[in-house]
Symmetry: C2
Subunit: 258 residues, 2 copies
């Protein structure tokens, strides 16, 4: 699954080493608790000597643990941020209950996405019940311009966000994207098939603040083969209803950042 | 409470920017979810322009969120590591039950410390019941050469660790430290008062692997005023018993790193 590019590509020379370190750390997640040096070199495109130096630095800082067999894992130093990140960014228990009920209704994975600059990031996820299911990761930036949740978030973004997006991706047809986003905004929901990834479909609706701002997008995602027309109709009803419910409850402490 | 120094002091120029970024991130924890630019500058000793650049870089990477009022918090990007760090480094549920029972017995805060190079880090904590209590943080490196848990961990470390410690702190009386550590190792427990911090006492015992290696130290910590002689006797019994029990259960998946 394509993330929104390597961090080191995005920033200038003076801060490149920070971005490189973050690129290395981003290789580790629940599905990849260990990485070999070979993988790290291949996935970051760093020269081997640079990768080794970055790993040694992160090891000294407690953020990486060298398993002494040319493989690495995440260090205990992360524990200091675990509770804080969870408490800052996790949605409230009531929101999670609404999400769980939505999963019970439709069987597919449900996410709450927020916009971070030109990306979207899931801050909460309840996994679907089927074996084949959507596997986006929380905390990971995905493109804003593709997928139902991205379009919903664009509907709440300023024009300058659309312009910046166009600067980054001059191949985008800005006029047509604007029209689409406006249409979605008026409809109050978005349905996409295979936009971000072939075979992946999603239905999303905006979570609004009391004063009508788009705080987040609630989305149902899963394999296109299961997103048949009759089901999509039901999903649209379910997701818009749940998003409205979350909007009236409030997202929890995370709203302070949105 | 003194941590084991700022990260940026420990590494050479080429990787200094990574260490600076980590120094900034380390200012955020459950007790400090927000930091002003002024605090960040004061606590890291970075020039203001450097601090602003590091913060902007971390913001672009999703690890810091700029709250637009000259204050900052931890970014949603950390969510990707929350589950992994928790699952890698958290001790098993059985261990946590033993720790909770120990807190119920003695009322003081209980920690499991591991050695990370020349530091000790708590990977699990159950807080005591009193208002005045020990406030070490999980995931944060503390000096290895002070405190009961540090002495226990030194008892399991190789001579080269003691030598490196002496290189870093030439003021340490290595002979006397070696004798003390050997004595503690034979006794099977350590008691310290005010070593790491005036007014803080601790009682600790080793958690051993099946083949007798020191994996971790289990410690009871709290204000010296409550660590009276008669209580310490009971705490020593309780902590050695609990440490033995955890050793026979096993620490959980974290043992793979120890």
């Amino acid at each position: 699954m394509a993330e929104a590019g390597l961090a080191a590509d995005k920033v200038d020379g003076g801060v490149r080493s920070i971005a490189r370190a973050v690129d290395v750390l981003r290789l580790f997640d629940v599905d990849h608790p260990r990485r070999t040096l070979r993988e790290i070199v291949a996935l970051t495109d760093l020269p081997k000597t640079t990768a080794v130096r970055v790993l040694a630095t992160l090891d000294a800082l407690g953020l990486i643990v060298d398993l002494r067999d040319s493989s690495y894992s995440l260090g205990a130093g992360f524990l200091r941020w675990v509770d804080l990140a969870g408490s800052l960014w996790e949605v409230g228990a009531d929101t999670r209950r609404v999400m769980t009920r939505l999963v019970d209704t439709c069987g597919e994975t449900v996410n709450v996405y927020i916009r971070r600059d030109l990306s979207r990031v899931s801050i909460a996820q309840v996994e679907g019940t089927a074996t084949v299911r959507s596997v986006v990761k929380t905390g990971v930036p995905y493109p804003l311009e593709t997928g139902a949740a991205g379009k919903i978030l664009l509907g709440g973004a300023s024009e300058s966000v659309l312009r910046q997006l166009h600067e980054r991706r001059p191949d985008l047809d800005l006029d047509s994207l604007c029209r689409e986003v406006l249409g979605i905004r008026q409809a109050g929901y978005a349905v996409t098939h295979g936009e971000r990834e072939l075979g992946a479909s999603a239905v999303a609706a905006p979570i609004l603040s009391a004063d009508g701002r788009v705080l987040a997008a609630l989305s149902i995602g899963g394999p296109t083969s299961r997103f048949t027309a009759d089901r999509v109709v039901r999903y649209v009803d379910a997701v818009t209803e749940s998003a409205a419910e979350i909007g009236s409850i409030g997202l929890g402490s995370v709203e302070a950042f949105l």
